[in-house]
């Protein structure tokens, strides 16, 4: 009798915590959704723009290498088409496929330029890390399937708004309170030059990630099906060499699907020159201007 009374008290205690947590969870979710849609600067604004408001002819997707390497103004001036840089630091195909779904739910761009990195091809960190950006859009059409394809437990975990906005809530709050507009149509040039000798990377020790390659394949198939042109690029890196086979998985896929893949990973003009790089993987402002000018003629012939 005594034990059951004590046990009941304990269960009530657990229930009180759970109920309070659910209330906090819902309030947190509504607050984040409110702030997300009303942020006028920073990463939050850029993401919202890409997913809900963009209408450019050309959408450029990729990781930080896309964000820092491709100047949309140069492309707009050369091609006479509107262009937006949707590059996202640390992003891979799992996020970018989600972007593609949300964009094409609203309109069809004429061309997608995709800068490929190891985040799109190879096994690296846990793929759950890419979901941090996507979970915010969990309720949008097509996003739930992407999230749950990475991990089956995501379906259960995403019931919680606290989980959905995990860590991203800080950036959302910062962008809502103090919006900073430092991007130019999504492009963010970086200053500085490479001032050290980077350690040699071993490009051979890589294992292809089937989930990522599957999403690359889906991106190509759906783009073709909907009449959207797509081109894949590998932008320059500092410490590369001619004839490297780093992009072999994407090269094979593009050959199979008959889509263009332009490999500038080793670029004789830029690679090996510290003046054009801010670090081993990122071109600085000068380097990105040279690189963008290098590709616009090819883009023009592709589009014409």
């Amino acid at each position: 009798m005594q034990t059951s009374r004590v046990m009941r008290k304990f269960l009530l205690y657990i229930f009180a915590i759970a109920a309070s947590l659910i209330i906090v969870d819902r309030a947190f979710g509504y607050a984040n959704q409110y702030m997300m849609r009303r942020s006028s600067g920073g990463q939050t604004f850029c993401q919202n723009y890409v997913c809900f408001d963009s209408n450019e002819d050309i959408i450029m997707m990729g990781s930080s290498r896309m964000r820092h390497h491709y100047n949309p103004i140069i492309i707009e001036d050369s091609l006479g088409m509107t262009c937006y840089n949707a590059g996202e630091d640390g992003a891979g195909i799992i996020l970018n496929y989600g972007y593609f779904k949300m964009i094409t739910n609203r309109y069809l761009p004429k061309l997608i330029i995709y800068d490929v990195t190891n985040f799109d091809m190879y096994v690296g960190d846990d793929n759950s890390k890419y979901l941090g950006w996507l979970r915010k859009f969990y309720d949008e059409p097509g996003i739930k399937d992407i999230v749950c394809s990475v991990s089956k437990s995501e379906g259960l975990k995403n019931i919680s708004y606290l989980y959905r906005y995990n860590t991203r809530c800080i950036a959302t709050l910062a962008d809502f309170i103090h919006p900073v507009r430092s991007y130019v149509k999504g492009y963010s040039p970086i200053e500085g030059i490479l001032n050290y000798d980077p350690k040699q990377n071993n490009y051979d020790e890589r294992v292809a990630d089937s989930l990522k390659l599957n999403y690359l394949s889906k991106l190509i198939d759906e783009a073709k099906e909907r009449g959207v042109m797509i081109v894949f690029l590998a932008s320059p890196q500092y410490d590369t060499y001619e004839g490297n086979s780093y992009y072999h998985p994407v090269e094979s896929l593009c050959e199979q699907k008959k889509v263009p893949f332009w490999n500038y990973f080793y670029c004789p003009v830029l690679s090996g020159n510290k003046l054009f790089f801010q670090d081993r993987e990122h071109l600085n402002k000068e380097g990105s201007t040279i690189f963008t000018n290098m590709i616009v003629d090819r883009l023009k012939s592709l589009v014409e």
Partner: protein, 384 residues
Amino acid sequence: MPLIVFKYFNFIHYNVVDALNKLGVEMQLTGLNWAIPIGISFFTFQAIGYYLDCYHNRIKAEKNAIDYTLFVCFFPQIASGPISKATELLPQIKRKDIFIFSKAKDGIRMIVWGLFLKLVIADRLGMCVDTIYKGFEIYSGFTCFIGSVFYSLQIYCDFAGYTYLALGIARMFGYDLINNFRQPYFSISITDFWRRWHISLSRWLKDYIYIPLGGSRCSRIRNYWNIFITFLVSGIWHGANWTFIIWGIFHGVVQILEKQFNMQAYQGNRMSIRCIRIIITFLLVNFAWIFFRMPSIDDAMNYIEHMITTGGSFNMESTGLTSLFVLTISLAILLLRDILAELRSPIQSYLNNTVVSVAVMTTLLAFILSVGVLDNSTFIYANF
């Protein structure tokens, strides 16, 4: 024997082969590629402690095989401790349990606090530490120093987080286990540090290595030797690598010096002296952790050299603004809690109020879910 085979075979094999090769004897032996049983270092020490207590007639041998097995394999502590004594745990196992609400409530609080330490602080610090340690050559010396401090905090929060989870789960079932930590970074000497850090291991080493060797009831030189051997064993226990041995020896040597110059304790009342000693002790412990973190002595020495000789300010890109923001708040919470615990403040008794307790638990859980690192992670001490 199983501990030596599973944990140290490859280390011994590699060093023997390396030494033979250096002597001109070309030899290649077969390595061991077996999975190490989880918690082997911990439950082996727990079992050895029981055996030695029986041998020295401190306790009677347990006749009930099920009770003994439960003592050795008690699930909350099997992975990474704490290492319990038979005199503490066996009587609790034999007791007819009744459910106690206050213990269960305490258990929940400890579990939530453990999750906070692990997911909010340790794992987020771990992301920063990995970035800095992996590419330390490109960062300034000050950034590397901050990286080393981050690692000191990471290993504390990681291990303390695990310990609170183990204690909390056991407490919910009505069992009391020894707490491994007592605000270790408030230590005023390395000797004091080992009374506050991994307390169950320190106790085990004292009872079963240090005292049987003679402890302090012998000549000064013999006492110093006993301290040295005890911490050499501690280093070896932590891992099959020379870096752990160097780490253990460092702690042993510093304690010998403290004993020589009578610096183990501070009996005075001056807060300024106490603070200075806390800072110096932290810096010494922080320095030793570099060897703990690095895969080899060369890597550790390169890191230390780079830290000391390279100028420059803190590189924000090594951590990111979001992580810095989260860490500032969470470390402030940890510092406040540790200060209150150190001062034995009565404020903590307010947590006994159910409404306050529910509010605090809800806040902490919301904080964990919103800013905790919820991707797959492991515990550092699970490797030992």
